[in-house]
Symmetry: C2
Subunit: 122 residues, 2 copies
DNA sequence: TCGCTCCCCTAGTTGTTCTAGGGGAACAGT
DNA sequence: ACTGTTCCCCTAGAACAACTAGGGGAGCGA
């Protein structure tokens, strides 16, 4: 039996996670992924194949600055930092997230029909 | 000034919205879209170009049954209904949604550095 | 008859995420 | 000195969901 594991990231939320993580302070890619994993209690797993393209996208759009530095464990690392635009985007995305989840939760909390109601075509 | 409107749907949640809406009772595509819009207080807008492919996907995977009937306004309509598999999937997706949003909210509620901390590369 | 609402559909584009690789350099252990 | 592990970067292509931009048809009210 092949069990399908659920996605470990909600599509469309990666940018928000990255921006928020960088709002805590500058960080490099690997560190961002680790931090997201940590603060989500090991629920969110960011694949490198998603992470780096996302970082490049955000940088290209002017939301991030980057600089090569040496990491705390003495390794070559590219540190990212929020720009003003990035901070603006973070705010917008955060608002949007709240709005959407509220809306979705409304739909999800609608009363469900009893079992009988789904048995026939009524 | 071209104002970019935020997405009116969170990617990856459409299936869940559809399944939940059908748990209330059988319905046709157009009606499903209308109901999602209603119960979300006009925040969620399901485009027909997203809706119908999604319905076909779900039906193909055995989550939905369908039947041509006449709608309440006397029009030809394809009614969909949850199958047992669909109900199972709804439960799983609902759980998954709760888990992911909880995780994301944890990340979002992490303490943010003051403005000074993002000014330099420290 | 005209316009509007209801209702269905799909081809092709776009965008994001993941898979599946590719590196290199530091460090700990043997 | 070598080996394995961790840390750190990257990309091409596949997969897939959502949207754009169309295409219908049929009922209904004016």
């Amino acid at each position: 039996m092949a069990r399908k594991k659920p996605p470990e990231l909600l599509p469309g939320t990666l940018d928000l996670m990255i921006l928020k993580t960088l709002a805590v302070g500058p960080n490099h890619g690997y560190g961002i992924a680790r931090r997201i994993k940590q603060t989500s209690d090991d629920v969110l797993h960011v694949e490198e194949g998603s992470l780096y393209p996302a970082l490049h996208r955000l940088a290209k759009r002017g939301c991030l600055d980057s600089e090569w530095r040496s990491s705390e464990s003495n390794r070559r690392a590219k540190y990212y930092r929020l720009t003003r635009k990035g901070r603006t985007k973070l705010k917008a995305q955060t608002r949007n997230w709240a709005q959407l989840t509220t809306a979705i939760d409304k739909v999800l909390s609608a009363r469900t029909a009893g079992k009988a109601a789904t048995k026939g075509w009524a």
